[in-house]
Amino acid sequence: MNRTQTLDALWSFQRSHGYLTDLFVKECAKDLGISTVELEGVISFYHFFRRQSAGEFTIYINNSIVSECKGYRRIKSAFERETGATLGQVDPSGKFGLFETPCIGLSDQEPAALINFFPFTNLTTLKVKHIVAELKKGTPLHTLSDDVPDHLRYTPPIDKSICIREYHQGRAVLKLANLGDEGVIEQVKLASIKGMGGAYFPTGLKMEACRSIKAEMKYVVCNADEGEPGTFKDRVLMNKYPGLLLEGMIASGYAVGAREGIIYLRAEYYWMMEHLRATIQDFYKRGFLGKSVAGIIGFDFDIRVQLGAGSYVCGEETALLNSMEGKRGEPRTKQFYPTERGFLNQPTLINNVETLCAVGRVVELGAQHFLKTGTKNSPGTKLLSISGDCHLPGIYEIEWGTKISDILNKCQADDPYYIQISGPSGVCLSKSEFDRSISMEDVKCGGSFMIFNSKRDILSILQNFTAFFKHESCGVCTPCRAGNYIIERKLIRIANGLAYPADYEEIKRWGEIMRMTSRCGLGQAATNTLSMAIDKFPEFFAQKVDQNGAGLNMKFNMEQALQPYERFKD
């Protein structure tokens, strides 16, 4: 078996047998020509792969901060009560396995969970009771699962909107021949399209770099891992406009001279897989994929979907490449760009779903259309996934340069107090900053926009973020692997009232060390928000510590420290 088929093989066995048995792992390793421990290493990297039974129905409840705000604890208890399984375990009958997982891309309809990877949204205790009762009765799972609405809330007038507008299959692809490969890149550059996955790298430059390298095989990879908590724009794009995404990939492939496109889809979106595959089949039927795409002689292009298996860091482009190669999803050392050595060491163009959709639109509508709105450094529009404490969570296509306060009005946030932009890896904003704008010149935004009202405990938000990074760190480099763990301990001390102002300074310095030394963006960004929040919410943090400083004696919780010993009394 080819190593790149590893994840598919593991999925296929797990789907039919419930979990990966010892015997299977041994044989699969043999098939791959690798030692068992190496395959175990791959399996244990991804949290959706199971080495023990995870129940006939495996339930993953989302434990992201938005879910926590919307009633995670209540839902968790409800599931525990109804299924008889405790979190992290399978109930005695083996029917239900109950687990938690970070953000599943449904922040606009929390609390939500996946059961055997079917989505269940807007959960209530009654709803949980009903679902579990029906499953016990034998009602087929797919009839119970929820349809996931797109919640498209706002889009600019038709002369300015880019992504969220009517889509007509083939409009972009059919323009390629006229435009020419270099023409595509030129348009992308003219429209100043930047990476929407969070790094904002100019897409045109990336295409050029990939194009300039001569190679037998080149790849276009669509990063559909959408793991940043609070983002769901890629989900909506793939659900609503899968064709647009494919056209963007085809256009990119044409521009850089690639022959194969791969969509790396996070396992949390497995429920969209069929839809994507059907669209791909349709494209083949119409001649927009396969040999001589849209009649362009010499341009052959295929697209397939690769399913991930539960790991946020696989959204990092080099980790994603490793994962597609059937390895542990550890980011690579940054010796080469993926455009030089990417998938299987071949030049590879990796772009986010939204970026690729924008490429599709630029071919269809022309760069001039993009320049009609936005700001100087960021023309065009941006999709925001808005969630949290507001009445209208969902997708907002905003013009770059829109004021935060405008956005808060649009989504009807009553009491916005703390806003997290671009997810836990991003930045936080306090009330005094609501007149700033979303733009490259001011507050950049990758897509996640989480609103918290004044009743939320900021420390719990930050603890949730740190727990997320600790859980998702790949573990390959010291500062991130150990650092997030250490920071978590520190936050517990603050929460327990054992900290001093000096602890805040330490957190900032330690965070700086992690930022400077971590291998990839996960560790580099993990403490950004924390350090920032300490500065931006001084009143909140002041009340969490003893202002008189540590002095000579540190606080100590003697009662707690003696608890285990006291159990030996009589």
């Binding site: 990297f45 573990g475 010291t478 150990a482 060390i513 030394t517 291998r519 000579l552 006291e566």
Partner: protein, 426 residues
Amino acid sequence: MNNEITIKIDGKAIKTKPGLNLVDVATEHEIFIPSLCYYKHIDPPLGTCRVCVCKINGNAMPACTRKTYDGMEVELNSEELLDTRKAIVEMMFAEGNHFCPACEKSGDCDMQHMGYEMGISHTRFPHLFKDRLIDFTPKRMLIEHNRCVKCRRCVEEVFSDSGERVFSFCNRGNETIVGIDYEQEATLSEEQAFAAMHLCPTGAILVKGKSFAHPFGDRRFDKTSAHKSEKSTSAAAPLPKDMSPKTKKIIATTSLAGCFGCHMSLLDVDLALLDIIKVVDFNKSPLTDIKEFTEQCDVGLIEGGCCNAENIEVLREFRKKCKLLVSVGECAIWGGVPAMRNTVPLEECLEEAYLNSMTTEPGENTVPYHEDLPKILDKVYPCHELVKIDHHIPGCPPTANHIWKAVSNLLWGDEFSVLYSEFKYD
């Protein structure tokens, strides 16, 4: 064509060739860039430990993953970078469970060596004390997961004859461990197993029965520093002569959860003690057997961490009565050997010691609990988590010279620093 290029390290121009590994080039020119995971034969470099971080043309990155090019400007020993690299090694100590005095690799260990080279006296981070396995199952080796720093050398370098990996990372994040393939391991020859043991920069891979191949005193890092020119600074501050009893300095000492080894070490100054007591008086101390403080002291020397409630009381009293408080030895600094229990719940420790022990008398099956006995804490705490500690003197135990030098400098001098040869004493 002449392919000589010039790079600069901390402003110093170095002529070299392009495309060479920066760490190697620096070493060749007697510039020390700390490194741990870097291993010459592995290409591409692993870049996992991040101990070698420096700034290259302004951007922080690990030196071991960088190749030389013309105009490369390397910032190496700025205060920030020195502290950052030190912090990374401290993190490794805080993350694993490193009890050097009980480690087979001590003196041969790259990580311990880096600790010394960087002058680490204590870690700024709380020790995590995660419970980790010692795996005796493999045929030849044993894997001490407490000591593995996940450098990845073994993963990339150790293959069985059939070309399959013997080691692989397993799990993710802070749960990451190095997994070993028992089947593949069993096929390794004696030499291959040895090679794996020597490849490991720590004492995580050991070959059963062969881990003491080099005797102590004869090990790689026992005496020599990687800094070619060892910068020695001040020797002990001179003791002031003729002090009247009024200006004599006053010292108190105590042993908390320690073994009295540090106190024994104190006495190792031998005859110099006669000079010392001319300028120093001892107040509360096991050396004088004075049980209660009778006056304010200048320096308090603490041996041992806190394992019971009484330790905490004593420590807090020392803090009240002493102007400066010094943690002497590993136990005071972070728990040391007594903290081996920190990875295990207290209940298990006590049951194992008092109920399941082979020497338990029949019928004697209680864990001591009495109002006159100090109550045992859930874990052993380092002194600095309970009171402010002004200074740390590392070592297990520190040598007599080291301790007195530090103390006399605290009392009469200013900053002190210790020679590598004094610092190193396994």
